[in-house]
């Protein structure tokens, strides 16, 4: 006898029945506090790996921006690093030449990333599929080339160095052990997750989900799919720009590879690994990818990419929704057991 109440469907959960489905999909309220808690735990447990953890946190914010574009907007892109790189350079240039307050640097990165996304998005987002993919790659190449040519500002292929951020809030210096860097990066990531979730539950987020599923139906209720896509692309550009700025703040240098095609592609791999359209899937994917990379690259520097490849194939074949979907299924199983007990 299977009644509706026994289906492994979140509707059967009496708490979630009254919350909108977007809330159910990101594991209710657990997802973001969990990221904060695990992040803090890692701070105590892995004090020697703070540099790696800091890179993971900043990269996760970047992958989160890709999730906004791809997971919520359905925009296929291999050029998200254009916004990351622009944000990183903007923050670095501002710090070297004018002010080195870390929040001012983040703001500069966000504005630059959002601005370039708005300008290029308006130009390329009428395209779809492969054409769009090529155009996003082209934008990334152009940004990289501009950064390469503007040596006076960016340091060209040597990279932009000498970024020395002031203490956070005038209180916390960026110490040589990277403690401040990590906690700052973690805080920015958690704040980014909260803001992203807020946006995705807003009227705008609802409309973007509609555009992803059926743009023509959106026109039939009077909306313009392209303007939603451009706006979403710009919003994600702000996130990517802030992520780039965060990397500039915490690492002190910005290189040409920050706008490069490989970085865009790697972000896509991390997102697919973690699971799209969930926000925290971006964090899980980034942590998994960079964690595995770190461990394998140390023990087997020649074959680690092969292992990552196998891992990715395994995930795509057996967990098409990424690691996050696996966790959700696990969560669903546990919840049903609790219900029965």
């Amino acid at each position: 006898m299977t009644s509706v109440a026994e289906r492994p469907d979140p509707m059967s959960d009496p708490v979630s029945r009254h919350t909108p489905p977007a809330a159910r999909r990101d594991l209710g309220w657990i997802g973001i506090p969990l990221v904060a808690a695990v992040g803090l735990a890692a701070y105590w447990l892995l004090p020697d790996d703070l540099a790696l953890l800091t890179r993971i946190a900043a990269s996760a914010l970047f992958v989160l921006s890709l999730d906004l574009v791809l997971g919520y907007g359905g925009i296929a892109t291999l050029g998200q690093a254009a916004m990351f790189g622009t944000g990183a350079y903007a923050a670095g240039i501002v710090a070297v030449n004018w002010i080195n307050d870390p929040f001012a640097m983040l703001a500069a990165g966000g504005i630059a990333g959002g601005g370039i996304a708005l300008a290029t998005g308006a130009l390329i987002l009428h395209a779809r599929g492969l054409t769009l993919l090529m155009l996003t790659i082209a934008v990334g190449q152009i940004v990289q080339e501009v950064a390469n040519k503007a040596r006076d500002w960016t340091g060209g292929s040597d990279g932009l160095s000498g970024i020395d951020p002031a203490p956070v809030l005038g209180l916390f210096r960026f110490d040589m052990f990277g403690r401040t860097s990590y906690l700052f990066a973690l805080a920015v990531l958690v704040a980014g997750l909260l803001v992203a979730r807020r946006i995705m539950r807003s009227p705008f987020g609802l409309a973007c989900r509609g555009v992803r599923e059926d743009p023509l139906r959106i026109s039939a209720i009077g909306g313009s799919p392209k303007s939603y896509l451009v706006a979403l692309y710009a919003v994600a550009g702000v996130f990517a720009g802030v992520a780039g700025a965060l990397t500039a703040v915490t690492s002190g240098i910005v290189g040409l590879d920050s706008a490069g095609f490989p970085w865009s592609a790697e972000a896509l791999v991390m997102l697919v690994l973690g699971g799209t359209g969930r926000l925290y899937g971006a964090v899980i994917g980034t942590a998994a990818f960079m964690g595995i990379h770190h461990i394998l690259a140390a023990s087997d520097p020649f074959h680690w990419m092969g292992f990552i490849g196998l891992f990715l194939i395994g995930i795509v074949l057996f967990l098409p929704g990424g690691i996050a979907s696996g966790l959700e299924r696990l969560g669903g199983l546990l919840r049903r057991k609790e219900d029965r007990a």
Binding site: M11, P21, P203, E213, I218, S219, A220, G222
Partner: protein, 251 residues
């Protein structure tokens, strides 16, 4: 009487195939008009032309006196020209409630609010509850459309059109796929529409047509065959031949 929708000499060719030819018709405020015709007559194509989903090969379309022939679909919607789809065309992963929320927010141009919570937009919950109630969808409010019975998807399709507060409403076979018990609900909802609205309904079910329509337009092979009151149409021998006759034969 105010002319709301005026169509003149509308034509559409797909390659060499002429699917619509020289269609002219007018809808006035308060009209309840049925568009009938055999399968493949070009009824849906006509709706697509009028609503701007496909561009016409010739002809003009005016809405409340304004030429909208070249206007994009979304702008026609904003002017109050709303259609429903013959085959339910919905957002599979969204719930019934989310569909209506989106439609109402879009209608009021409140979709570019990035930091508001959908649940807290003033007046939204009440309006959506009213729409759900009208179409008998309250029980299904939190069900994702992908797992909704087809009849209910049809009801939602109508609810979406109603949510837009149309001036001209075009319903493409609103009762197709809806169990007979539920089609009454659709008619009830249409009955309760504001009087001054112009409604054009495409429908094969003649029971529904006669209950709904004051005037009927018959389309055959992409051309207007005739139009008139329900009585005139039933009596017209040409209509019997191309449409009613062939239907009666089929039964």
């Amino acid at each position: 009487m105010t002319k709301l929708l005026e169509v003149e000499g509308l034509a559409k060719n797909f390659g060499g195939l002429q699917v619509s030819a020289d269609i002219s018709m007018t809808l006035n405020a308060g009209d309840r008009c049925a568009l009938i015709g055999p399968n493949g007559a070009g009824k849906t194509t006509f709706v697509n032309l009028v609503t701007g989903v496909i561009p016409p090969s010739a002809g003009t379309i005016r809405l409340a006196g304004r030429d909208i022939t070249r206007l994009p679909a979304a702008e026609r919607v904003r002017l109050g020209l709303i259609r429903s789809f013959q085959v339910a065309r919905l957002f599979k992963s969204m719930t019934v409630r989310e569909h209506l929320e989106l439609a109402v927010l879009q209608r009021d141009r409140r979709t570019f609010r990035l930091f508001a919570s959908v649940g807290k937009v003033a007046g939204l919950a009440d309006e959506v509850a009213g729409l759900l109630d009208t179409m008998g969808l309250t029980q299904a409010a939190h069900t994702a459309v992908g797992s909704l019975a087809y009849g209910q998807q049809r009801l939602l399709e109508i609810a979406l059109a109603l949510a837009m507060k149309p001036k001209v409403l075009i319903l493409d076979e609103p009762a197709a796929g809806v169990p007979h018990s539920e089609s009454q609900r659709i008619l009830d909802a249409i009955d309760r529409l504001p009087e001054d609205l112009a409604v054009l309904m495409i429908e094969h079910d003649m029971d529904l047509v006669f209950r709904f329509a004051r005037t009927i337009v018959v389309l055959a092979q992409g051309r207007l065959l005739c139009s008139g009151t329900a009585k005139e149409i039933v009596a017209d021998p040409r209509v019997r031949e191309v449409y009613l006759g062939s239907r009666a034969d089929a039964r």
